[in-house]
């Protein structure tokens, strides 16, 4: 019985750290999809962020510059998608997926001499008072600075999406390009900005992964976190607040997996490694019908799931 509580406690404390990078990517994909586009290249953008964030930190010694480079890297990659899908009318899913392989190639090439580099990176900052909340305090308020920004960003995005002119324009474009156009907006420009911001946020998530979570760079280190983010956006039904729940679910799955490994559960470690993916597939199926109804109109042609 004690073991169970130990594992659950450890899972809770361990849920936030691995969830932050996915949370940023989920925010990024959410903005992109709200504008009516889907970006499977978000996985590649995360890799760009992780790689170039790490390289810039090694070379300049400044984590701030590292994070910024990661954002720029992720954003540049997503702009390729923006150009191709908007101006050349290519298929979004194929283009985005190719972009992920493209990003994997660029980062494997650029980062190959940095695999053994060490950095100081982002370190946990303990928030006074809040971190003394029993149980939750340590889990939530002994994190790096990007985690705190991520906590704030959720409500900010929520308010921005529903109560500002920019947010409403974004949503309008996602529902119907022609209506947005008729209302005097520039729908394609809005989509380009949304895709670029999405890539930047995914890059930020990648940078958090290499600078704050692992403190190392290795080839393909995101192992599907970007694709997980695409799934979480559906789970979150395009709401930034629910995205936070989803990302911490993913983090919790990783935390649970690490806890079970630590106590030496008699299961193959590879089965435990499957947990995060299986849990995401499971939660996506929980309220998938409601999600299908909540889907921005502009996505319905691409993400059809009825027969």
């Amino acid at each position: 019985m004690n073991d169970i509580w130990l594992v659950l406690g450890g899972t809770l404390t361990g849920a936030v750290g691995p969830g932050i990078s996915v949370l940023y990517a989920t925010y990024g994909e959410l903005i992109t999809e709200r504008a009516g586009r889907i970006n499977l290249g978000i996985e590649g953008s995360m890799l760009m962020g992780a790689c170039f964030g790490f390289i810039a930190t090694v070379e300049t010694g400044s984590v701030t510059l590292g994070v910024l480079s990661g954002m720029v890297g992720g954003s540049l990659l997503s702009l390729v998608l923006a150009y191709l899908v908007i101006y050349r009318n290519t298929n979004q899913l194929a283009t985005g997926f190719a972009l992920t392989l493209f990003g994997a190639g660029i980062t494997a090439y650029a980062g190959r001499t940095y695999v053994d580099s060490t950095i100081n990176g982002l370190n946990p900052i303990t928030v006074p008072i809040l971190s003394e909340i029993p149980k939750l305090g340590i889990a939530l308020f002994e994190q790096d600075v990007l985690a705190y920004i991520a906590y704030i960003l959720g409500p900010v995005l929520f308010l921005g999406l529903h109560y500002t002119r920019t947010g409403l324009s974004l949503k309008a474009v996602g529902e119907s390009i022609s209506v947005a156009y008729a209302a005097g907006r520039n729908p394609y420009m809005i989509q380009i900005v949304a895709i670029a911001m999405g890539g930047a946020l995914a890059g930020l998530g990648g940078a958090q992964l290499s600078l704050g979570f692992t403190h190392t760079w290795s080839e393909g280190m995101t192992v599907g976190r970007g694709f997980v983010a695409v799934g979480l956006v559906i789970f979150a039904m395009w709401s930034p607040l629910r995205a936070m729940v989803g990302a911490f679910l993913f983090g919790g799955a990783i935390g649970l997996q690490l806890q079970l490994q630590t106590i030496g559960a008699p299961v193959s470690p590879f089965i435990l490694d499957m947990l995060p993916y299986l849990i995401i597939i499971f939660v996506m199926s929980l309220w998938s019908r409601a999600a299908a109804r909540a889907m921005p109109e502009g996505l319905k042609g691409v993400l059809r799931a009825t027969t």
């Binding site: 283009t95 493209f102 994997a104 494997a108 090439y109 080839e219 499957m274 995401i280 027969t307």
Partner: protein, 352 residues
């Protein structure tokens, strides 16, 4: 007067070339190679030397050419695995995982069955591989049908699960006790190995993509079912009103797709590796997906796009071996080729 007439002629000619899909695609490929050449120059290498080495290592020699053929076998099967579901409007990004499961299932037959002859063993392995891949793909369709979960994300994530699933066995129960602790299964007996041909690494697995392409082409263009599939992919509601059993087509297309990816896995373990180990595929399934999109899911065009990707991959291995470029750089080139081919495609009228 005459010069303007000849100019008109040149213009007409360029226009005509540009109007042909194949010509445009070839132009797009050259464009991508040119951009990659600039990239090579920027990082301080000699593009001419790199491209010469790539050519000599692939099309320029018997060994190179046969290696291109060896790579094409899984590419074509994985490309068909994406293209057949695409006919009915499904996106199968799970070829990589289906390939792993197919390799796993056929390895199980190879190691744990006592089938004595090659004539029974290889078909049994192929059937196991096909069924393995089909079931793996079928799970995504089950989730789509019963829970309305779109197959793009489930097939994507299931790739990672499949790779780990294979690891469970090769690091665990199936590990070769005489393998010095390496995560390999024991080597296949001779009746479970696809025979090689022409004194090269090219193997009899070649039959699979050849039959696959011909059957797919005939099926799609010559039968009522092929026409119905197109109808389902175009507009499922209209197809249903015409009395086409839409769901059945969707399930069968996805199962065949997954099965073909599973066959790619079978041909890799039986024809090349002769055992199962982690990382057997190295993006074969993903490349197949891109090849299918590049070919607009046309089975004949898939031969061409797989040929091109195989040249790039084999060329990349040659460059990696000679220390010119790490093979990761080839993912950049493949990405450029795909962007370019998709981007050069004639713009269809926007349906807004």
């Amino acid at each position: 007067m005459q010069s303007s007439a000849s100019l008109q002629l040149v213009q007409d000619f360029t226009f005509k070339v540009y109007e042909r899909p194949i010509a445009r695609s070839i132009l797009a490929v050259f464009f991508a190679f040119a951009v990659f050449g600039i990239f090579i120059a920027i990082i301080g290498r000699d593009p001419v030397e790199i491209y010469t080495k790539m050519f000599n290592g692939t099309l320029g020699s018997k060994v190179g050419l046969s290696e291109v053929g060896v790579r094409m076998i899984p590419f074509v099967l994985a490309a068909l695995a994406a293209s057949i579901p695409a006919r009915v409007g499904l996106i199968n990004v799970g070829g990589e995982g289906q390939l792993y499961i197919g390799a796993w299932a056929s390895t199980g037959v190879a190691i744990y069955s006592d089938i004595p002859t090659i004539w029974l063993m290889l078909p049994a392995m192929a059937i196991a591989g096909f069924i393995g891949g089909a079931i793996w793909a079928g799970l995504a369709i089950a989730l789509r049908h019963f829970r309305n979960v779109n197959e793009v994300i489930t097939t994507l994530l299931s790739n990672y699960v499949a790779i780990l699933f294979v690891n469970v066995f090769v690091f665990g129960a199936w590990k070769n006790p005489a393998g010095f602790g390496y995560p390999y299964t024991s080597n296949f007996e001779v009746q479970a190995v696809l025979p090689t041909i022409f004194d090269t690494r090219l193997h009899m697995g070649l039959v699979l993509p050849v039959v696959g392409i011909i059957a797919t082409y005939m099926f799609l263009s010559r039968t009522r079912w092929g026409a119905n599939m197109r109808a389902v992919g175009g507009n499922p509601d209209a197809a249903r009103r015409r009395g086409i059993p839409v769901l059945r087509y969707i399930i069968i297309a996805m199962l065949i797709g997954g099965g073909l990816a599973g066959l790619a896995g079978m041909s890799e373990v039986s024809g090349i590796q002769h055992h199962l180990r982690p990382g057997i595929s190295n993006n074969l399934g993903f490349m197949g997906f891109l090849a299918s999109w590049m070919a607009n899911h046309n089975p004949i065009a898939i031969i061409g796009t797989c040929f091109l990707i195989a040249i790039i991959v084999v060329g990349g291995d040659v460059l990696q071996f000679s220390g010119n470029l790490p093979s990761a750089a080839m993912l950049i080139l493949i990405g450029l080729v795909l962007f370019s081919v998709l981007g050069f495609r004639k713009l269809e009228r926007k349906t807004e």
